[in-house]
Structures are given as structure tokens and as C-alpha cells.
Subunit: 164 residues, 2 copies
Amino acid sequence: MKKTSFQHMPCPVAQALEVIGDSWNVLILREAFYGASRFDDFVQALGIPTNTLTRRLKDLVAGGLLERQAYSEKPTRYEYLLSAKARELRSLMLVLLQWGNRHGNVDVAQTILVDSLTGEPADLVLVDRVTGLPVSSRHRVLRPSRDSTPARSFAFPEPETALS
Amino acid sequence: MKKTSFQHMPCPVAQALEVIGDSWNVLILREAFYGASRFDDFVQALGIPTNTLTRRLKDLVAGGLLERQAYSEKPTRYEYLLSAKARELRSLMLVLLQWGNRHGNVDVAQTILVDSLTGEPADLVLVDRVTGLPVSSRHRVLRPSRDSTPARSFAFPEPETALS
């Protein structure tokens, strides 16, 4: 079954999903953030079928998210390390983590993010680097239209809670 | 083809993906953030096959991300509105947007986020709400293990750039 390609959609959200839009891919990257790098690490952590893992690792290397490096010779064995652009997905992982904690399956134990110095749970919020202000309705997305008419401006609606 | 379920993995990232891990679902939600609510809005904006859209809207309603409301009677027609928990995915959309702008297909026009008062592009960064400090290696994820042994602590590696 050929996957739909989102590569040519004039939208960076679609383009990001083209590379990371598969749930297994996101979980493999999550494990890499936790320090996994070898095939067996991923199998053990995720319970992922080995043929699925082989295919996904190949895709992630082709997409420039993982870098394959030999860690032994005779026999040659490879490990998979996060690339610079994959490391920039750290915010995505943390945003998913917070949302999942709030809205995921409550029967499953929570995984929390804490400040290791204070021991306090961290509550992460997205702010404008320059103003330090949380994202608000002041922030508007300028999205080019498909047919080269002038860009239109769209506001993301005001969040229900300050967290969003 | 039955989709793998991530619902019982003891990790909030996996649980978030259980609900939103399909690329079409994320794009449908993106359009809802832009103001789309009706079936035809989504078809027109996304070029999504109608049978795929029907299935995905049903999934998103079942998952509590969209709320189906009648907007006309005779004939009864429905629109799909973002739920409160879907609106909390706003940070996810914006993180995907920024990452896609930096690492997506450069041949496709960019979509940028601007401050509508100043006209300046917004550069969003994830900070701790209490301390105001960017996420750093001080932030550690406490992940419960599968077999009820004590929780282990994992550090997300230091980002390559201040942006992550």
C-alpha cells in the first residue's frame, strides 16, 4: 500500500509529517532521545516487529533523521544516531509527552518531566523568544495559497487554557 | 490492514500518537485550527479522498478531538469543531510548523508565523512556566518501567541549537 505523499503540499506541517508522520517513526526517535542506538535496543524497548523496524530505520536514515555508523567490524554492526535536525524534534517529543499525560489513557502509568535540580514537575509552555510572551492570538500564520494569489493570514484560535 | 495500537504502551508519547498519529488526522486538525469545519472545507483544502476523510472524521470524533454538530436541518448537515483537548494541540501544530520551515522541502513556499502587532516573524521556544528557562538537560523524563521496578530517569540530550 503506497503511502500518500505530503511532500509537495505548500505547508510546513505537511512537510514535517512527510518525514516523521508515522507513529512508529516517532517512537523510534523517542527511544533514540532516551539513548537507544542499536537494532536490539529498539526491538526491546518498543516490541516492534523486526521487519517493520528494518524498514523504518531505512526510511529515517534516508530522511536524514538518523545517521548510520559502524560500531564494530568483523562482523560489521551499525548503530543509529540522531542527526542534528532530529535533535531539533526535542520540543515535539516534549509537547507530545505533555499532551499525552493530560489526555492519554489514564490506566497507564504516567511519565513525567521534572526539573532535576528542584525535583519539581516541569510545565512547559511555548513562548516567543524575543518577547518572552506565550503564544497568543497575536501570532498569525501566513499561509501562501495554492494559486499564487496573495498570502492570507489565519489566526490560530485562542487556547482554552494557558497551557496550549 | 489493522493499525498497530499504541494505547497500552506506558508512555504518553505513544498515547498521544494513538489519537493523532496519522498524518491525515494531523492535517485535518490543522485545517480545523485554520477555521475549516465542514466536509467540503476539508476536501477543498487538503485534496483528501472523500472516503478517507469520512473515515478520519469518524476516528477524530470517536477519539474526542472533533465534536460533530448539526448546522442545518432538512437536510441535516454536520460540521466538525475542535474539542477542548484538540485545542491543546496548538503547541504541537506550531512546533511542527517551525520544524517544517527549517527542514522541509525548500522548493515549497514557506508558511511563517508572525506577530501581528509588530509584523516580525515569531521564533517560538519551549520554556518552563515557573522558571521561564528554556528546556535543558536539567529536565529529565521519569519513565516507569514495564515490570514495576522503580522508575528510571532519562535525560533528553542537550539540543544542538538553542531553538530546540
